[in-house]
């Protein structure tokens, strides 16, 4: 395995591409008891815009298929993978996101036995119609659970309202209708195309010997399933939004909430996209975090009653910012946010403030490497979405300039916006 040393931050990484083209990364963490492994398929929710060939017919991948397949991958020769992991006291789980599906386990002992189970999970697909039907009822329960979570509901509705063609306007889990449409043949075909070793990355973290890991993986190589070339996704999306405002209802809530989205022009260049992502974070923290320039002012002027929350989404052909808040003074908050991001408004950040923010980011990032689980999940989070070397991100941030910040600010000012209000009955 190739060894990469990041001396300044005491981190060592090993990397190898196996004979079957599967990429393997070891985040070496000596003296930790916990060991963890994540296997990541570059097949996620957004891939539902693709078509596959089924019995000579081209069909679109159903919404929710990636997530449905994730549930069924726990079936290994009619045994539940979680039962197999639990024999070793290991914890296992999986999740589906926009661009990938991730399976992982965490253990304190029997690492290689657990890794074998994880590899078996993604090496073959077997499910009966009966198992698939039972899974549908479980997933429909899951979908209903999300429908009653205020933040989930707001986010799903605002994406649907902001985007015309982008798959983000569909929920990862699908709908009751699309979940019910999913069948064994589709899942099997999807598996053969997208769970090819070349489309998978294994990320391991813990006190594990690289030579031993490589030897084990070469003895347990995953099968190559198909030679279909997977083209990168390309999504075309107009700059405008579907609708500017809507109100939705959830009987269980006592307080009105809202989400306010800035639909930014999607950046195509990977380096520039990563750079702008950091800049957007800097601007929002500078204005709206605990230490933000506007937070205390807005709280004391009763424009907001709690801190404004915000999320930045940067993904395939997608860049946007969502603000969330609680309270009845929605127009006032929205008006004030719009004023902040007005082209005619002057936005300044002093060099000292900018350098202090970089210092803060540096410290927080280094701290985020300190646990096995945290490091590995952060690494996987960035996989396929960022073009930076994970451990060199702090250097990327150090190289940012105030001009980059002003450029990002302009991007936000040029965005179109949309609002969703969530009220109780």
């Amino acid at each position: 395995m190739k060894k990469i040393i990041y001396k300044n931050i005491d981190e060592v990484v090993y990397q190898v591409t196996l004979k079957n083209n599967m990429n393997v990364i070891l985040l070496y963490k000596p003296n930790f008891i916990e060991k963890t492994a994540y296997i990541v398929s570059k097949f996620g929710h957004f891939d539902s815009i693709r078509k596959i060939n089924l019995n000579g017919k081209e069909v679109q991948i159903p919404w929710g298929a990636a997530h449905f397949l994730e549930h069924r991958m726990f079936n290994i020769n009619n045994q539940d993978a979680s039962d197999l992991f639990s024999k070793f006291g290991a914890y296992c789980n999986a999740y589906t996101t926009y661009e990938k599906t991730t399976y992982f386990f965490s253990c304190q002992s029997h690492f290689y036995e657990c890794l074998k189970i994880l590899l078996e999970m993604v090496d073959s697909f077997s499910s009966t119609d009966e198992q698939i039907n039972k899974e549908k009822s479980i997933i429909i329960q899951e979908a209903k659970m999300y429908q009653e979570e205020p933040i989930h509901l707001l986010t799903a509705n605002i994406f649907d309202q902001a985007y015309f063609n982008h798959p983000i306007n569909h929920e990862v889990i699908g709908t009751v209708e699309t979940i019910n449409q999913i069948n064994k043949e589709e899942l099997s075909e999807i598996f053969n195309i997208f769970y090819n070793p070349a489309n998978l990355t294994l990320v391991v973290a813990g006190d594990i010997l690289p030579s031993q890991l490589e030897e084990f993986l070469n003895k347990n190589l995953l099968k190559e399933k198909s030679n279909v070339i997977i083209e990168p996704l390309k999504i075309s999306e107009p700059e405008k939004v579907k609708k500017e405002m809507s109100t939705i209802y959830l009987p269980t809530i006592n307080t009105t909430r809202f989400a306010f989205l800035f639909k930014l022009k999607a950046i195509q260049d990977a380096k520039e996209k990563d750079k702008m992502y950091f800049c957007y974070n800097f601007i929002l923290d500078y204005l709206f975090s605990d230490s933000g320039k506007l937070s205390e002012k807005w709280l004391s002027e009763k424009i907001i009653s709690t801190l404004l929350e915000y999320s930045i989404y940067s993904n395939i052909d997608l860049d946007c910012i969502i603000f969330y808040n609680i309270g009845e003074e929605i127009d006032l908050v929205v008006e004030n946010i719009k004023k902040v991001f007005n082209k005619n408004q002057e936005f300044t950040m002093s060099l000292k403030e900018f350098e202090d923010m970089k210092k803060c980011y540096y410290g927080r990032t280094i701290k985020s490497y300190e646990t096995v689980g945290g490091l590995c999940s952060n690494f996987v989070y960035d996989l396929y979405t960022s073009c930076n070397d994970f451990f060199l991100e702090t250097q990327e941030v150090r190289s940012l300039t105030l001009n980059d910040i002003y450029k990002a600010y302009q991007n936000i000012c040029e965005a179109v916006t949309t609002l969703v209000v969530l009220r109780g009955d």
């Binding site: 269980t252 202090d356 540096y362």
Partner: protein, 422 residues
Amino acid sequence: MNKIKNVSLGRCNHLYLSQTKKFKSIGIKVIYKLKYNYKNISYFNILAKYLGNCTKKYPSIEKCNQYIDSLYGSNVGIKTNFSNDLFTISFFINFINPKYVLDESLIEQAIILLHDLIYDPLMDENGLDETIFEICKNNCLVDVESLNEYSLSYVYNKVKKEFCEASSAMAMSSLGSKRVLKSATKQNIISYYNKLIHAPFDIYVNGEYKLKKMENLIKKYFLKKNCRAFSYSSFQLVPFKKFNPINIKCDVQQASLVIAYHLPVLLDDEKQYAAKILRVILCGTLSSKFNKVIRERLGLCYFINSVYSSSYGKFYVMTGIESKNASKVLENVQKQIEAVCKGHLLNKELKMATMVLINDLKSTNDTLFGHINMIENYHQINKEFDLTKEIKKYKSVSKEQVIEVCKLLTYCGYGVLSKEFL
């Protein structure tokens, strides 16, 4: 396992120093112990927000947080907690190991900040800063308002209240009471601040640092003599009580169900190890009985979880289901418990549950505050945490002991929030 050095910081205060090179940061936690009172929760929640956001030196939310950020993105937190008649308020700071930023003064700066947040607050003869006080009070009220928006926690809180007085620690929400929060004045908060600074405290430190230097720095800022010791018990058996089903009607897609059991095994009881193993066997992992039967075999839910409260002797099962399936879930949960009582328990299930709990214990050493929290939890019940001994205790639990504990589980009632009455 890390060795702990115990240093006295005055009449009833202690410093516990633990060293490890594993982490990138250093953590310091100061824990004050007070007698539980239901008003404490609300008032101390406001006080915690106030103290965490300003000091005399940094007299605004913005300035105080900017200073915290400038210490290389340090994290500062204040948390309240309570169990039976013990109420605790903890202040903690987590900052990067100075070797990564070549700034040795960072340790002292972090300790001074922690000290100032507690002992040099933004207070004068006129009391607290009016604007910051109002912001903090309002934040606490919003937190309480939002809490009940999650159906399952709403039902869980309703069920807990069936067992005891509404003002007892077991029934109280950690966010406090809306009524008490609304009536809070600056004078109330100042009087609670005075209670806080006269309460006994312990300090825990973990990370890579020079032992003597850290000890001296902590002594320099935290050597206090004016505390008042008191006796407490953080656990007490809440008597068995059967209650009528709680039906809450609401137009929801998914019903939230909480089933309550009496399990008279407390923290000081040797049977607690068997009780914890029983919880994992029944409903602690994806391979537990309830998950296998209710989720996998019958497809009745997406998740099913449980809580064993060893402070009060209660066991709760919670799940989100379709309203029409509530009776089926109740019936099958009961059937699984009865089956274990009759001896239907496999060796592999016992082994799996024991391993899960032992692994959880071991992994506390893999996080900076995990280790500190474990030592602190044991101190609260006047015990020293000994990982080897604890592992032995779990390993010695037999199948028969788990079955005996299962026989102690007594059904008390359930609460459900759904579209229709059951």
